[in-house]
């Protein structure tokens, strides 16, 4: 099985090619350029390095969010564009699950946090690869209560922000920097796992996972703004 993994749900972007679970090539960049400039060349380069043509792909796995609104749109649109011509099956992978994936061996909770700005993060919680809290939008201050007692490892582009803000409020640790960003290889691996369970969809049915504040929160925010 040959899988192309794509991620652009945060500031960094990457593309990876897996053959039967083995990582053949991965291109990763975090240089402040927009995904619209870097992602398609990264995919092309990863495919070239792996000597795989788009026609040969058995699966296209892409991180569908939550995260950067623009980044998710670019990643999902690119995945659809590559998958459509050859009817390649696709698998949407949550960006928080992809973040937690390399830390599946950590015995405590893994909190995957993506910076949603204004003191908020998109957060999903995992224990040894199992999702115990699906991704949602919350205030950083709500994190200790969500995680409860016990050690928790923070990953994602919001990890440092949360770690600094919540110092002394729990047993938090920061994942090593090289594990703190989403990797397309993790997206590809999770895509293969989803495919083994028969959870793929045609490109036309692939959907982004935008998580927006609930209507109640929106109303509250707007009321607060009016008071100012």
């Amino acid at each position: 099985m040959i899988t192309l993994g794509i991620d652009s749900s945060a500031v960094a972007g990457s593309a990876a090619v897996l053959r039967d679970g083995r990582l053949l090539a991965e291109i990763y960049s975090d240089v402040g350029l927009t995904h619209s400039e870097t992602l398609a060349p990264a995919v092309q380069r990863a495919l070239q390095e792996a000597e795989v043509s788009p026609r040969e792909l058995d699966l296209l796995a892409v991180s569908v969010g939550p995260g950067s609104f623009t980044g998710i749109r670019i990643g999902v649109a690119l995945a659809k564009g590559i998958a459509f011509p050859f009817d390649t099956p696709t698998a949407g992978v949550s960006s928080t699950r992809a973040l937690a994936h390399p830390l599946g061996c950590f015995p405590g909770a893994v909190a995957a946090v993506l910076d949603a700005r204004r003191g908020r993060v998109f957060c999903g919680v995992y224990r040894q690869g199992r999702e115990v809290c699906p991704p949602k939008l919350l205030e950083i201050e709500e994190l200790p209560e969500l995680l409860g007692p016990g050690p928790a490892m923070l990953v994602g582009d919001g990890a440092e922000l949360c770690y600094n803000q919540l110092k002394g409020r729990g047993e938090f640790s920061l994942a090593p920097a090289m594990l703190r960003q989403i990797r397309a290889s993790a997206v590809a691996e999770l895509g293969e796992l989803a495919a083994s369970r028969g959870e793929t969809v045609p490109a036309g049915e692939l959907r982004p996972l935008y998580i927006q504040p609930s209507q109640a929160e929106r109303t509250l925010l707007e009321k607060q703004a009016l008071k100012k």
């Binding site: 609104f69 929106r218 100012k228």
Partner: protein, 79 residues
């Protein structure tokens, strides 16, 4: 949104049609609050709930003799 990429990236948003958080998210606005860029926001009153604390506000008002421009929020020592 228009972008002007130079030494400091500048992004121009027009929020005239934005009504609330849902609309705002769909512009990608939050992706640009990265601390490295300058955002020029027209109709910023429509997104008052989402403006950063260090926002500088420029008000332009028509007057009989021309126009009056008022700038507020410039940090101390940087005037």
């Amino acid at each position: 949104m228009n972008q002007y990429l130079g030494r400091v990236p500048v992004f121009h948003f027009d929020m005239y049609r934005i009504e609330g958080e849902g609309d705002l998210c769909s512009t990608g606005y939050y992706d640009y609050l990265d601390g490295r860029s300058v955002l020029f926001i027209e109709w910023s009153e429509n997104i008052a709930f989402a403006l950063p604390e260090d926002t500088i506000t420029v008000s332009i008002e028509k007057t009989p003799g021309g126009r009056r421009i008022e700038v507020a929020g410039i940090p101390e020592g940087r005037e």
